[in-house]
């Protein structure tokens, strides 16, 4: 036991001694730390893009809201229903009701060209025609400016994301789409979800404007509870007059985000992995140099009777400390620069623009620290082994 305590105190004193000498090797130490900071910052920012996009799509749906599409449709764009079909769907069991009837909204989904504010180039902006119940179906829509549109009028309301990203979408202005002029009467939020990238109008007004006669593309409905989903789904799929695909809104959006998030994540991890390799070489270089510069010191310690394990650990501790400092710096830099940064991109499934905010989540910060720690340990390990293997006699003679 005493031996063990002695051993432990050796480790602490050598490691502490080592860490205290870092300032003498400022240049090399800072280089290694910055190398790792760079890797971590790039990794975190790229993954924050994917995370933000995923979040924008997944916070959109609560589990007790369902969406119904035509069977075989992969998005609202390729789906279609007649009015009779949407009525049949709205009458299905499991749907919650209020004084106005079932909480279901038959909707149209089209895209229109509007210029991006940032570049002036035209982009595909989603325009959704909704029914009156849509607000209660979603439950998280709040007007931040103006009011809701009036039924039967050429009025639209605009999500905050769309209003920020696309030119001309300001309160009380008018936009012309094809033969129609729409007045913007309100700006709304939707809990950070994808609806904030959309423009909403009265479905009944949008239909003739797009030659859709009496057709819709999807039905969104609020259920009694999340558990009522199975009952609702079974009733619709069993109905011989309908060929539909039913999904919880949350699952539907999660599926829609897969392609884009996978793409960004893969590229991000690939870039970060290559950068990590580069930084690893830098860290190895720094630590080898640190060991080389301290050859005489280490030999002296060994000659005084310090074991080789404390020496190994002291070198590891140094590289670990540098890596953690670099990693923390990189992660924080990414957080302060990018968290909440808003951007738009195309949702591969609907061809339309989604505005979202980069999200540097705690999970990403932890991941960053883990990468940094691993880099630090590997970068320190081989130089540490070299330090432990130094011959005392020749080490003492070294200039």
């Amino acid at each position: 036991m005493r031996d063990f305590m002695n051993w432990l105190s050796q480790i602490f004193s050598v490691a502490f001694f080592n860490l205290r000498t870092i300032p003498e090797r400022k240049g090399a130490a800072v280089t290694a730390a910055i190398g790792i900071a760079g890797v971590v910052a790039v990794l975190v920012s790229v993954l924050a893009i994917a995370e933000g996009f995923r979040r924008a799509l997944t916070v959109s749906g609560s589990p007790d809201v369902a969406i119904v599409l035509r069977s075989g449709a992969d998005s609202e764009m390729t789906s279609g229903f007649s009015r009779d079909e949407t009525r049949m769907i709205a009458d299905a069991p499991g749907i919650a009701r209020n004084a106005q009837g079932p909480l279901a909204s038959a909707e149209l989904f089209v895209i229109i060209d509007l210029p991006k504010r940032s570049t002036g180039m035209s982009a595909n902006v989603p325009l959704r025609g909704i029914e009156a119940q849509a607000f209660d179906v979603r439950g998280n829509v709040a007007m931040v400016q103006g009011r809701r549109f009036e039924r039967g009028k050429n009025e639209i309301i605009v999500g905050v994301g769309a209003a920020r990203a696309f030119g001309g979408l300001d309160l009380d202005r008018e936009i012309r789409v094809g033969q129609n002029t729409w007045r913007i009467v309100g700006i709304f939020t939707a809990g950070g979800g994808v609806a904030e990238s959309e423009i909403w109008s009265d479905a009944a007004v949008l239909q003739p404007a797009y030659n859709r006669n009496d057709n819709y593309q999807s039905v969104t409905a609020r259920l009694h509870s999340a558990a009522a989903f199975q009952e609702f789904k079974d009733a619709l799929t069993a109905n011989p007059q309908l060929t539909v695909k039913v999904a919880r809104l949350s699952d539907f959006f999660a599926e829609q985000s897969t392609f884009t998030t996978d793409f960004i994540t893969k590229i991000g991890v690939f870039i970060a992995a290559l950068m990590a390799l580069g930084a690893l070489f830098a860290a190895l270089n720094t630590m080898y140099n640190a060991v080389a510069a301290r050859t005489r010191e280490i030999a002296t310690l060994r000659a005084l009777g310090f074991g080789s394990i404390p020496v190994v650990i002291s070198v590891l501790a140094e590289s670990f400390a540098l890596a953690l400092a670099g990693g923390a710096f990189g992660a924080l830099a990414a957080y302060f620069v990018f968290n909440g940064y808003t951007a738009t991109t195309m949702n591969a499934q609907t061809f339309s623009q989604v505005t979202f905010a980069f999200a540097v989540t705690p999970r990403l910060l932890v991941l960053a620290i883990v990468w940094a720690a691993v880099l630090g340990l590997i970068g320190g390990l081989f130089p540490a082994i070299r330090a432990a293997r130094l011959s005392i006699a020749s080490g003492l003679r070294e200039t």
């Binding site: 280089t31 760079g38 390729t78 060209d113 094809g178 580069g278």
Partner: protein, 386 residues
């Protein structure tokens, strides 16, 4: 060049450090190469777009179709040489994740409009004979091992399937190649007459028109004439040059250029520090030697040159190997990523740019240690470690 031996033995004195420094430069330029390939994937369409071609689509958005009759009306506008319609079929091969572009066209008009798609004459002949015939790109053929004579079943959520059938059946009658490296060969083209007859929805509708104009300088003018022709009709158009249309589309995905620039700057800054630091160390260790060199008559400029040469050699070895490997891997991996990035290669222009960066990196990383070495006073240098 006579000092090359000296530089070489200086590099060899700390082999491990030289190797590690070279490797970090190598990795940086490997990454540079890949990022250029990704950027090329997003912008290839723009650089290869036909300068004498316009694209005409529905003004409201690309998802709205135009009437077939527009083809003839556009053709009558002065300055227009040819018109070819295309549509988005959105075919699904077994599963959505197998996505590839599938587009109905009129074969002769289409091939005349896009000479960059090379189809062997015999296969073109076959396409004109086989009603459900399709030509597929080389990349697509490789991706699913399709060959001439194969049948490809597709479903189309947009247009539905032919009456009484569960899917559309296409026979591969030809495989087309691209005229240039960046030409997209990841898609499939099939006959419009077969498509229009069998589709249950939207008969007589065309997605967009490609228009060849006589004089590329007049593209803006003719685009305006086309839009005026259909102004105030239920289907107004938006005509623009092919390059503008493709650039706009790529831009909607995100500003790829800015993102890549940010990543590359981070990488280069990091690597510059690492290499600069290693070089600085190498020079500090040799203070005494440099003093000796100067004592035997090396001029300040020559010492500066020697140190710079050393850092440039490291940068060139690492950097050129990295660029070379990126180029090679892009060539070999191109087929694997075809589902996401139909075009994947490192353009020659970027390789040259990369080589330029390699040299700049070598010079900038070496300049401070080199100046330091140049300014050393002989007496001090020789005394330093005594």
């Amino acid at each position: 060049m006579k000092f090359f031996g000296l530089v070489w033995s200086n590099l060899k004195r700390k082999k491990l450090r030289a190797v590690l420094t070279t490797l970090s430069i190598f990795v940086a330029f490997l990454l540079f190469g890949f990022l250029c390939a990704i950027k090329a994937a997003f912008t290839a369409g723009v650089t290869l777009a036909g300068k004498d071609r316009l694209m005409v689509r529905h003004k409201i958005s690309i998802i709205q179709s135009l009437p077939q009759s527009y083809e003839q009306r556009i053709g009558q506008i002065p300055g227009v040489d040819a018109v070819a319609g295309q549509s988005w079929f959105g075919g699904i091969y077994k599963e959505p994740k197998n996505f590839f572009a599938s587009i109905p066209v009129e074969p002769e008009k289409f091939l005349a409009m896009f000479p960059e798609y090379l189809v062997p004459p015999g296969e073109k002949e076959a396409w004109l004979k086989v009603r459900n015939g399709a030509i597929i790109g080389r990349t697509l053929a490789k991706r699913f091992q399709f060959k001439v004579g194969d049948h490809i079943p597709l479903t189309s959520p947009i247009w539905g399937e032919p009456a009484g059938k569960s899917h559309w059946d296409f026979e591969v009658v030809g495989i087309y190649d691209g005229q240039k490296t960046g030409t997209d060969t990841s898609g499939m083209f099939f006959r419009y007459d077969y498509f229009d007859e069998a589709r249950p929805r939207g008969k007589g509708e065309i997605g967009w028109f490609s228009v060849r104009i006589r004089n590329a300088d007049q593209s803006a003018e003719i685009a305006k004439k086309i839009d005026d022709e259909f102004a105030n009709s239920p289907n107004e158009t938006k005509a623009e040059s092919e390059a503008a249309m493709i650039a706009g589309f790529a831009q909607q995905v995100g500003d790829i250029g800015t993102i890549l620039m940010a990543v590359l700057s981070a990488v280069f800054f990091t690597i510059l520090l690492v290499v600069g630091n290693a070089m600085g160390q190498a020079v500090r260790e040799r203070t005494e030697e440099i003093g000796v060199l100067k004592a035997i008559g090396f001029t300040n400029e020559r010492v500066l040159f020697l140190v710079l040469l050393e850092s440039c050699v490291i940068a060139l070895v690492g950097g050129l190997l990295g660029l070379g490997l990126a180029w090679l891997l892009a060539l070999l991996l191109g087929g694997l990523v075809a589902s996401i990035l139909p075009v994947f290669y490192v353009p020659g222009r970027d390789l040259l740019l990369g080589a330029g960066f390699v040299l700049v990196l070598g010079l900038v990383a070496g300049i401070f240690p080199a100046m330091q070495a140049m300014r050393l006073r002989i007496a001090e240098a020789l005394r330093r470690n005594a």
